[in-house]
């Protein structure tokens, strides 16, 4: 399958830090595949994901989206990427759940289409009853589902999920696993980070192991 996203010899150091968070990392993500990035806490998984999404600009190397440098294509291709942050609270920036899910689509479609997208996505995730609620009143698990709904609603090509299963109640874990599998079946390209060895019921087409910012294995 065609390579959709490619990371070439990327190094990134956070401002004020001496050691780079990721060092000379290279990997290629093919269209429609599930790529799992595994490694202990602080190994650089989140940094790599942020670089892949174009949210951090690498000091060395580059990220390519469909063969062209990603940085040159932003912000036009931003809607092709859906990034789920590890802490879903960071993604809550609107007064109600409805507006949170509508945030992305509102920039792309007319209000009728936005309404349809919001209701369909909410139904898919089983959060229809939360739509009128304030985003501040949700539990952690509900926030995670709302956060994933807020990216699925604008139908991105690539899903970048940062530790989606961390701190989740088993019932929410099941819902999220079902959604991810469903998205993979629809041909979405998915990149998932995980601190552990295994991911619940998710088959990784490729797995990258990262430690101390260095990619030690990619298969």
């Amino acid at each position: 399958m065609a390579i959709i996203l490619e990371v070439k010899n990327v190094t990134y150091t956070y401002p004020g830090e001496k050691e780079p968070a990721i060092k000379d990392v290279s990997l290629a993500v093919s269209e429609g595949e599930i790529t799992c990035i595994k490694g202990p806490n602080g190994s650089g998984k989140t940094t790599l994901l942020l670089v892949m999404a174009g949210l951090l600009r690498p000091e060395k190397g580059a990220v390519y989206y469909r063969g062209s440098p990603l940085i040159d294509q932003l912000p036009h291709v931003r809607s092709k990427f859906g990034i789920l942050f590890q802490n879903p609270e960071l993604m809550m920036i609107n007064p109600t759940v409805y507006d949170e899910i509508a945030y992305g689509p509102r920039q792309l479609y007319d209000e009728d289409t936005v309404h349809r997208k919001v209701t369909v996505t909410a139904r898919l995730l089983g959060i229809t009853k939360l739509l009128e609620k304030s985003t501040a009143s949700l539990s952690y698990g509900e926030k995670k589902l709302v956060a994933i709904a807020s990216i699925l609603s604008y139908d991105p090509e690539i899903l970048l999920l940062d530790e989606p299963f961390s701190n989740l109640h088993p019932s929410k874990l099941e819902t999220l696993t079902r959604i991810i599998i469903n998205q993979a079946e629809q041909g979405k390209t998915i990149v998932i980070t995980s601190p552990g060895e295994s991911l619940p019921n998710i088959r990784c087409d490729r797995t990258a192991f990262i430690e101390d910012g260095v990619l030690i294995k990619y298969s």
Partner: protein
């Protein structure tokens, strides 16, 4: 001292959270908000007890109309009284004389007789002024008010920014609380010196945490913003 600050942070986070929680659509949001702003403005600038009575009556009506507001509003009153008493203490000795410079402090003819009434007036005004606005916000909920404010093009940007501020402020307050508790957990004596040390070092940590939190928040917004921030909600 740590306990007072911890309590204050916890209560402030709760107050901001409660304002933000209720998203059920309510009627008469705009008239209620307008009345509360007018009352807040009038109480702030006028010394008229009739205005104070009207503002108090408005707050009492809202307390009666809302089942859980009494506990919440009592906390807000307690903190407002506490802060206004501290700020207003000099009025006890200066009375209604205005002090504009160091020279005035030395030469002022201290008026203890007028000091107490002036002090009481100050405390009542400072405490009462924000109450109509706080009670209204609690009653209608920020999501409802935001929905209305978004319909005014000039207010969209400030409403969006206020929403983000209201949503994320309690998290930073609770984080500060955790920092304080983590320090307190390893203090085996209760000396003032130790308390001061833990309080003063929290400030540095808080600045670093806030900067890191803001950066992540900015990335989270940027990740779903394709051209420019839409500044729009469902009305």
């Amino acid at each position: 001292m740590n306990k007072i600050i911890s309590r204050f942070l916890r209560d402030l986070a709760e107050i901001v959270d409660r304002i933000n929680v209720d998203g059920r659509p309510r009627k008469a949001v705009v008239p209620m908000f307008t009345v509360s702003v007018i009352l807040t403005f009038l109480v702030s600038i006028m010394d008229d007890p009739r205005i104070w009575l009207v503002a108090s009556a408005y707050v009492i009506i809202l307390i009666i109309a809302s089942r859980h507001m009494l506990r919440f509003i009592s906390k807000a009153i307690l903190y407002l009284v506490f802060l206004s008493v501290i700020i207003g203490l000099p009025i006890l000795v200066t009375g209604n004389t205005s002090i504009n410079s160091i020279h005035d402090i030395v030469t002022v003819r201290y008026q203890l007789s007028t000091g107490l009434p002036e002090f009481v007036k100050f405390v009542v005004r400072v405490t009462l002024a924000p109450l109509p606005l706080i009670a209204t916000l609690y009653f209608i909920g920020w999501p409802n008010l935001a929905r209305q404010l978004y319909s005014v093009p000039l207010l969209r940007k400030i409403t969006a920014l206020t929403t983000i501020f209201i949503l994320h402020l309690p998290r930073l307050l609770r984080h500060t609380l955790s920092l304080l508790l983590a320090r307190e957990a390893r203090h085996f004596d209760n000396s003032l010196k130790r308390q001061w040390k833990s309080l003063s070092t929290v400030v540095g940590d808080l600045i670093i945490t806030s900067a890191s939190y803001s950066r992540k928040l900015q990335q989270a917004i940027e990740a779903r913003t394709f051209n420019e921030y839409p500044f729009e909600v469902r009305r």
